[in-house]
């Protein structure tokens, strides 16, 4: 057998191997793309539904996601072109083990799993934010040698105590973001900042397969407690039209292809077939003059592999069923009204490329809709239809493995919450009633609720 054939045979074998010994998962969090693995690799498993012929593409995508990109020119021409300005040199840096990033603890600590989106007031050509004229739409705190970095982000924390009905005190903190050492002068008073941590990247193929019709029906449906929910509508460069928003903390990207191409350009400075021009605002001359790693730097085949990788990452199965406390907590979750937004059950529609993602009953604990979360969480930076107070309900699947996999807990869009209870206590606006019910819970029931979340 020649080497290529052997490799294919091996991959097929591997697939059998991966499938071997799996028990049918009871609550199929991700439908046929569910893994029962509970280890630190639980966010990194290829879907068992992925056709064997696509496994090679999945691995190619994985290797690009793990790649630390190289400054051009380089002998490794397939993976060069980092920058000129960027945030981190690999996707993995902000999504370690495919999990979430986090916020720095102190003023001095650099951002490692986080970035700051920028804009000025107004509405851009496709309905999106207006980039800052000097610093663009994202603050790049790193640059290749010879190019000026945009500066440094410093985070300070303002802390206060919340007292729950049973007297328990929980310390909450919120970040104050400042742009230190600005490379191109003071950014001006009208700059709008939105600090965001890296979001987990598994299960996204399924979310991509949720139909627009479903999302619009969810938005229109009557909900208790004054909960509303609406869809974001965002520009998709690849499709050249406005689509419904699904990804990012404000549902500010509609397709994985768009989300990944934006991450490549905005976070790493890698151009692709979707976003072909380097990310150099007009004021940044050295940036525009820097050597690039090809036009575009990422080939179409590489982009497709990265998209496939994200589409095929399985969701960890919930571990609720064999834990009585978690089962009690599930009741509390629904009684408190969490399920109005963190919807336990959805069914995917027809995925245009991949039948194996279609028509799957899934348990994302999200409606993918935007909700007004109150003043406490507001970033005051509109993002397409999302106002400064609105955020997309993040899926809660797999959230119980955060401490194990990411080795620290960082919840909410800016990583301010260091525990699940902190995350809940920040809920305001449409989620205020739910939060108040949690605040009023007896300690035992509160523990059950948290136990339930940790079993997801």
């Amino acid at each position: 057998m020649n080497l290529v054939l052997r490799a294919v045979a091996a991959i097929a074998l591997l697939l059998c191997g991966l499938a071997h010994g799996r028990e049918p998962s009871v609550p199929a969090a991700g439908g046929s793309s569910t893994t029962t693995l509970e280890s630190r690799e639980a966010y990194s498993q290829p879907s068992q539904a992925l056709p064997p012929a696509l496994l090679a593409g999945f691995f190619a995508g994985r290797s690009l996601f793990r790649q630390v990109w190289i400054i051009a020119p380089a002998l490794d021409g397939e993976v060069d072109g980092l920058g000129p300005t960027f945030n981190r040199a690999s996707c993995l840096a902000c999504h370690l083990k495919n999990g979430r990033g986090g916020a720095p603890e102190s003023h001095e600590e650099p951002l490692r799993g986080m970035l700051v989106r920028l804009s000025v007031p107004g509405i851009g050509p496709h309905g999106g934010p207006v980039p800052h004229p000097v610093y663009g739409d994202q603050f790049n705190d790193a640059a290749i040698p010879g190019v000026q970095r945009e500066g440094r982000v410093a985070i300070d924390w303002i802390r206060h105590d919340e007292v729950l009905a049973d007297g328990t005190i929980v310390e909450l903190r919120r970040p104050v973001v400042s742009l230190a050492e600005p490379g191109f002068g003071p950014p001006g008073d009208d700059i709008l900042l939105s600090p965001r941590i890296g979001a987990p990247v598994f299960g996204l193929g399924l979310l991509e397969a949720v139909s627009e019709k479903t999302m619009r029906e969810l938005a229109a449906r009557a909900k208790p407690d004054g909960v509303r929910g609406r869809v974001n509508e965002v520009w998709d460069h690849s499709l050249g039209r406005t689509v419904i928003g699904r990804f990012g903390w404000k549902a500010n990207a509609g397709t994985l292809r768009q989300q990944i191409a934006s991450a490549l350009l905005g976070d790493l400075g890698i151009t692709s077939t979707v976003l072909e021009r380097e990310n150099c605002p007009p004021a940044q001359r050295a940036c525009a003059d820097a050597v690039n790693g090809g036009t575009p730097e990422l080939s179409e085949a590489q982009l497709q592999a990265m998209v496939l990788y994200h589409q095929a990452l399985s969701v960890p199965a919930a571990r609720t069923h064999d834990d009585p406390a978690a089962l009690r907590g599930e009741q509390v979750f629904h009684r408190a009204g969490c399920g109005s937004c963190h919807l336990p059950q959805l069914t995917t529609g027809t995925h245009e490329q991949h039948a194996w993602l279609s028509h799957q009953p899934i348990a994302p604990y999200s409606d993918l809709l935007l909700h007004d979360m109150g003043e406490g969480l507001a970033d005051d930076r509109p993002d397409y239809l999302a106002s400064g107070r609105e955020w997309r309900t993040p899926p809660l699947w797999g959230i119980g493995l955060t401490a194990l996999i990411s080795e620290r807990e960082s919840y909410l869009h800016d990583g301010r919450a260091r525990s699940l209870i902190e995350a809940i206590l920040w809920h305001g606006g449409e989620a205020q009633a739910a939060r108040e019910r949690v605040r009023a819970l007896p300690a035992a029931e509160r523990e059950d609720l948290l136990r339930f979340l940790r079993s997801l």
Binding site: R6, A7, S39, A93, P110, E181
Partner: protein, 449 residues
Amino acid sequence: MMRWLGALVLSCICTFGAHAAQRVVVVTSYAQEVISRMEAEFTRANTDLALDVIWRMPRDAMPYLESEAGKTVDVYWAASGRNFADLAEQGLFAAQPDLAAALPATLAGFELSDQKARYMASEVALYGFAINPEYLARRGLPEPASWRDLADSRYRGHLLFPLPSRVGFAPLMIEALLQRMGWTGGWALLSEIASNARLWSPGGAFITEEVAAASKGVAVTIDFFAASAIANGAPMRFVYPDVLAVSPGHVGILRNAPNAQGARRFVAFLLSEAGQRALLHPDVRKLPVHPDLFKEADAPAFDPYAAPLPAGWRYDARRGAVRLAVDSAVFDALITAQGAAHARLWQALRAARSAALARGDAAALSLVARVQASALRPPIDEAQSHSPEIREGLGGRAVRGGTEAPPEASALSTQWQSAIARQYADAVARLEASGLLAEDWSSQAGVKQ
């Protein structure tokens, strides 16, 4: 007890506050997990410093460090002994005798830090076998403990072996085995092991994932891949075999480092107790260089400093480094390029040897041994393997000694391949003529690879 370096650098922690963090520019080829962990630990203790990491594969790092851009670099930190030796020879490193003083000179016969302290070992990786115990138990196979064990035909179809011309970490392992077992004996053993194995190259599943998923029972690999997978829950064990091969990772401060003070603090951190402990993280799992760490309660289970070694044996890193690409080309000529003919050769040799043994026929046994020796004769002898003409003839990567470039066909390598093909065909013909092989020998016991 060996003194830790931590205290040494305390004296130079500068004042900080509103000032911009000073930057330390580090060129590396480590994986993101390793970089992230070390960066986090380092900057936690050194809040006035920030790391700028420039990533380059070893073969790509050399031209970068030698160019103008290299003058902006403070530290080179990578697992590439050849690059460090070359850069030291060019006088590009500033020696750090005080930082090197606390480190042992050798491990298992392998030189760790440069004798002149121009670069220091910061971690080590060793080669061995990642095994899936359940896979082996289900097939009644014992767990291999030595390289010789892997040559046992019982493992046929159950092994994965890294293809040296495509897998960056493999050539050093091959070279170490050749130095320890001799050129001819080493190749004979490698050939026999490879006859049991499927050759693995990157691009698909990780070599350890294949073992964890039980597509094979044993993979020859470097320890940290396996140790990290095991620490993260993979159902495997890692076996350190009888002959150890060590791949040290090094760090050195560039002579023109713009931030020499910051560079020293980074290097001192890597060699300090905190830096060495950070290596034990589940996502890193490299072995520390500090012998003291192996004596502590949470130490790695295997202490390479305690492993037995033939008296006086030393790995010759200098000679080894220039021969790595030659080794890969020989491996390809003897094994990779021969494909099924290589498998068929071993099938014939094994069948003939069994027949000779069954008949108790000493003359036949010695005939098989002679046939085997001539079949497995490498295309060049030991002296030639060191010759610059051979490296020139192979071209490309071989000239400089790099390891990761994909194999390029050269007139010489093509010539080797056809010579070896003839050797194998002759051997099989001689065995067929010896009367030791049954009529249908080649259709028997054909284990799919």
